[in-house]
Every structure is written in C-alpha cells, then in structure tokens.
Amino acid sequence: MKLLIVEDEKELSKSIVAYLKQENYLCEIAPDFKTALDKTESFDYDCVLLDITLPDGNGLNVLKGLKADNKTDGVIIISAKNSIDDRIAGLNLGADDYLAKPFHLSELSARIAAVIRRRRFDGNKVLVLNELTIDTLAKTISVNGKGVDLTRKEYDLLLYLVTNKNRVVSKNAIAEHLSGDEADVFDNFDFIYAHMKNLKKKMVQAGCEDYIKSIYGMGYKFDI
C-alpha cells in the first residue's frame, strides 16, 4: 500500500507516518503544493492525505489534477477549515472523505483503511484475524465460521479497534467515533464501557480470544 501525505506541518506528517508504520503502508511526504503535484503526476497512490491550505497553492488543485488525469487514487482531505462549503467542494471534486483538524490518528487510520477497502476491486472486503472474520461489506462478523450477532455500535467499535490493531485507541477517540458531536457535549465515557462490555462478552462466548485490552483507563487496544 502506498500513501502520500500532503501536509506542510512537518510535525503532523511525522506523527501520521509514525502511527501508520504498523500497517505496513509505504508513506511518502509532500510538504508543499509543487511536490504534491509532481508526485501525484508521476506515481500512483492507494490513498492521498490532502491538506487544502498549502503555502504555495490550494490542495484542491491537486485533487483536480488527479481527476483530470483519470487517476483512481483515494483522497482524504484533511483541513483546518471545518466549513461546510469546503467539505462540499472537496467531496464534489471527488474526494473520498473529509477530516477536520485536529483529528485523532486512530480516526485517520480508520478512514484510510475504509478508503483502501472501498478502492479494492478484487472483492476482498473481508478482514481475517485468526479465528475472527469481519465482512466489511455486509457489516457482519463470525468466529470460527460461526456468525456473531452484534449491534451496530458494537460492530463499529470492533472495526475501529481492529483497523487500529496493536495500538492504544483513546477513550476520546472512541467516543467521538461512535457518537460524533455528542461526545463534545458530554464528556462521559460510561456508554463506551457498556458497549465494550457487551462486545467482549459476545465474542468470548462465541469462542474468540479476548483480544481487546483496557490500557490503564487511558484507552483500549486490540492486541493480536
């Protein structure tokens, strides 16, 4: 998997690379508009993380260039401007997703995984982790070939942890992922505990190893 990170803030691109190295992605960095244009014209990427506000140009023009060349690179816009207009403009131009800064790295990782899954044309939309199988198209899971009935939230939670496997995902990131803006209003993680408890119970009952670990109350980790 090849990734291009178009981001002028060096520290942020460094963090993204460090976080994503687990996934065995090949990450390249374009710190400015010109480099981004050169790289997208010369190479194909599975996913491009695109910052709109670059020192020497508008990131949206990189996206326009990609579409003009009929390239199929997945594009996630990461923007400091969380405006609806920007979001609509980006998505209309053919971006796959839009993420407002500041974001959780775990959220970014989940979005990248989703974009890559969607772009895969070999029909392989199933994640297999030992005895656990997740069908991302049907949104179902099975353990040792036997289906496990999960609620929508439990499924989202599991998929989120799996796409960030072997890394600690903070409670904040989980809360935001599961409930959107509501997490902003009530800093209350009780509902995460409830969902987590049910999820773990169901999986263990189905004969799955207990991969989900709580890390010092800081967050959770899908350890495999």
């Binding site: 803030e9 520290e11 942020l12 963090s15 993204i16 460090a18 976080y19 400091a80 401007k81 969380n82 405006s83 609806i84 207009d85 800064k101 500041p102 974001f103 959780h104 790295l105 775990s106 890394r167 600690v168 903070s170 904040n172 990131a173 409930s179 509501e182 902003d184 209003v185 009530f186 800093d187 209350n188 009780d190 509902f191 890390i215 010092y216 109350g217 800081m218 967050g219």
Partner: protein, 423 residues
C-alpha cells in the same frame, strides 16, 4: 432645542425688542417735531400780527382787538418787556364738546409805543390724530417686516440644514456590521460636504477595523488548529510507547483531556466567528418539533444515564425560516445544558408553540443570575466540560433571527424561552 429654533431665537428676541422700543420712540420723536412746528407757526403768526397791527392800532384798540378772539387775545399791559413763552393747556371746545389740548404763545409786544400782551392759541387735536395714525402705520409695517424676515430666515435655514439632517438620519441607521460606509448626498455647502466626506471615511475605516478584528478571531482560531492537531497526534503517539506504566498513562490521559478541552474551546470560538460572518446563510423552513426530537434521540444516552424524564408538549406547529444547522445548535445547547445541570431522576419539560418554545429543567434549587447568564465565559458551575460559551452562542443565533431568549426560575424549574418575532 432644535437647531432651527435655536438660531431663530436670537432674531426673534432682537426684533421684538426693537419693535417695543421703536414704537414709543417714534411717537415721541414725531410729537416733538410737530410741537416744534406749531411753536414756529405761532411765532411767525405773532410777528405777522404785530407788524400789521402796528400800522392800524390807535386811541382805543380794545374795541376791535376783540374780533381776534378766542384764538388771539391782545390787551394793553403794564408788565415789563420779557421773552416769548410757550405752554400747553387743556381747554373746553364748544364744537367738539370736549377738552382739547392747546399750544399757547404768550408774548409782550410794543404797539405804537405802548406795551401789549399777546396770547395766541392753536389747537393740537389734529396733530395728535396725525401722530397716532403715522405711528400705527409704522408699527404695522415694522411687524410685517419682522415677520417676513423671520419666515424667510426659517425657510432658508431649513433648506441650508437639509443635507445636515439627511446625514444625521443616515448615521442613525448605520450598522457597523452590515454596511461598508455611509453613502451621503452631494451638497453645495462646503462645510457639509466636508462633514459628509469625513463621516464617509470614518465609517469606512471603522468597518475595516471591524472586519479585521473579525478576521483576526477567525484566523487565530484557524491557526490554532494546526498546533492542536500536532499536540493531539503526539499525545496519541505517546500512548503507543512501551513500556508504559500506570503513572505515565494517567499523565497522558490528563494531557489528552486538556487537549480535548482546547479543541472544544477553539471549535466554539470558530463557530461564533462563523455566525458573526454570516456563514450560515442558507435558510429553509425548520420545524422545531422535529429538531427537538432528533436532538433528544442523540442525547438519549445522556438522558438515560441521569434517569431524566423528558416531556414534550406541542401546542401548535412551530416552523421558522432559518438555518437548520444553527437552530440545531441553538436547541442542542439549551437541551444539553438542561441535561448537564440536571439532577439524578430529574425532568425536562419542553413546550412548543407557534413562534416560540420553552425548555425547562429541574436542577440546582437556586435561580441563576439572569443578567450574567448570556455573557461569554460566565460559567455558573465548575464543570470542566463546559467552556462557558453555550448560551453566548444561543444568544447570537437568537439575535441573528431577531428572536428573544429569556431565562426565569419558577416552581423549582429553570426555564429558557425562545420567542421568534417575525418568521
């Protein structure tokens, strides 16, 4: 006092004063001129008479001297020679049957070498009538002139000051956020043209300052996003480091919380500046009832956790023309406040009526300070999750749609009312 009446006041006082002084002055001046005239007349009459009588007078003058009476009275005298004297007396006149003022000349003249006393009288009644007529005409003329002058002055002032009043009216209506600068009418008067020019450039400058201040808030919040993103990403990377002990984990969690709060604050500031910049300008028909239901569903978890019962009464369709997102933020803020500041097992009452809605909740049994409630950063609790801008945002949204938001505390319920005035 109006400018016009102020400037005319001086004129009026001066005119009335002159009128009051001029009429009696005129009267006395004319009267003295007429009296002088009469005296001269009497003197020349006497001189004439003495000259003519001197030739004809002989042994017994008293017999024919009487023919001159009553206007002229001549008789021999033994008095010594002296200067002529005038005086005015009132005498009864048979013809008009009333007392009439007379001017009298008394003189001693030598006729044929003998001294005679001569008295000549002249009635003043005609002269007095003349004087009164003249003064009356004069007074009327003066009045006409003054009234005319005042009217003309008033008319002119009105015309001259018209551009000034036009400018004043425009200034009254000026709003710094909506207009760039005031467009003022052209005027021929240099001072007003100068004033208009100054006002135009002043308002223009003010508007620019306002814009740059708005821009600053927006830019500052935007610029904050990047370091916040870096901070958050580093904290997340820190979570991945090994080995990690409980103490470190706790510190990292606390860092993460602080970062989260900064995010929230920054997002809220951005939202405020977006409302100010009118970036939510797409309007549609928004149904309050459906919006409340949608939000209540979103907040179901929080409601259940505190065991809060929510009662909604819809007493009429409240549909307003507004931006859906903003109305959701408005109701969301009020609703989340009602949940956050509620007690375990409390209740929330929502009443929706045409053009207004009420959200009331149980909570602290003390009324909140309504005067400080809608000010920014006025937190009435020590809750770290609230940034103290929720009600400020609610108020701004209400202002945008010319709605009134009020708070009152009654029957141990904290009640917020939002009334849309023209939707």
């Amino acid at each position: 006092m109006k400018l016009l009446s102020k400037s005319l006041k001086g004129y009026i006082i001066y005119s009335v004063l002159i009128l009051l002084i001029s009429v009696p002055a005129y009267y006395y001046v004319i009267k003295s001129i007429v009296a002088e005239d009469v005296d001269e007349d009497l003197l020349s009459q006497k001189a004439d008479m003495v000259a003519r009588l001197g030739k004809v007078i002989d042994k017994n003058p008293s017999e024919y001297l009487e023919v001159f009476e009553p206007d002229v009275y001549i008789k021999p005298t033994s008095l010594p020679q002296r200067a002529d004297s005038f005086y005015t007396i009132s005498l009864y006149e048979a013809i008009s049957k009333e007392n009439v003022p007379h001017r009298v000349l008394e003189s001693i003249a030598m006729l044929n070498g003998k001294p005679y006393q001569i008295q000549i009288k002249s009635s003043l009644v005609d002269n007095d009538d003349l004087i009164i007529s003249i003064v009356t005409v004069q007074a009327i003329l003066m009045l006409l002139i003054i009234a005319g002058l005042l009217l003309i002055a008033r008319f002119h002032s009105k015309k001259i000051w018209k551009p000034f009043y036009a400018t004043l009216g425009k200034l009254h209506e000026y709003k710094i956020e909506s207009e760039k600068s005031i467009e003022l009418e052209k005027t021929e008067i240099d001072e007003f043209a100068d004033l208009n020019k100054t006002i135009s450039s002043l308002t223009n400058r003010n508007h620019e300052v306002y814009l740059s201040q708005k821009e600053f808030t927006e830019n500052a919040s935007h610029e904050m996003q990047t370091p916040l993103a870096v901070f958050q990403s580093k904290v997340e990377l820190l979570m991945q480091t090994t080995p990690l002990n409980g103490e470190q984990a706790e510190l990292i969690t606390e860092l993460s919380e602080a970062g989260q709060r900064m995010n929230r604050l920054n997002k809220t500031l951005l939202l405020l500046s977006k409302i100010d910049n009118n970036q939510f300008n797409i309007k549609e028909a928004v149904n309050i009832d459906t919006t409340v239901q949608k939000l209540a569903e979103q907040y179901m978890n929080a409601l259940n956790q505190k065991n809060i019962s929510m009662h909604t009464r819809v007493a009429g369709d409240a549909v307003i023309n507004a931006n859906q997102t903003l109305i959701e933020i408005l109701i969301g803020n009020l609703l989340s406040n009602a949940i956050r500041h509620n007690v375990q097992g409390g209740r929330i009452n929502i009443v929706i009526e045409p053009n207004q809605f009420n959200i009331s909740n149980t909570g602290n049994t003390k009324s909140l300070d309504a005067s400080r409630l809608f000010q920014r950063f006025q937190k009435q609790t020590a809750d770290a999750n609230s940034v103290g801008l929720g009600l400020e945002i609610a108020k701004r949204i209400c202002n945008l749609y010319k709605a009134d938001i009020t708070y009152n505390y009654a029957d141990s319920l904290h009640c917020f009312n939002v009334r849309f005035n023209n939707s």
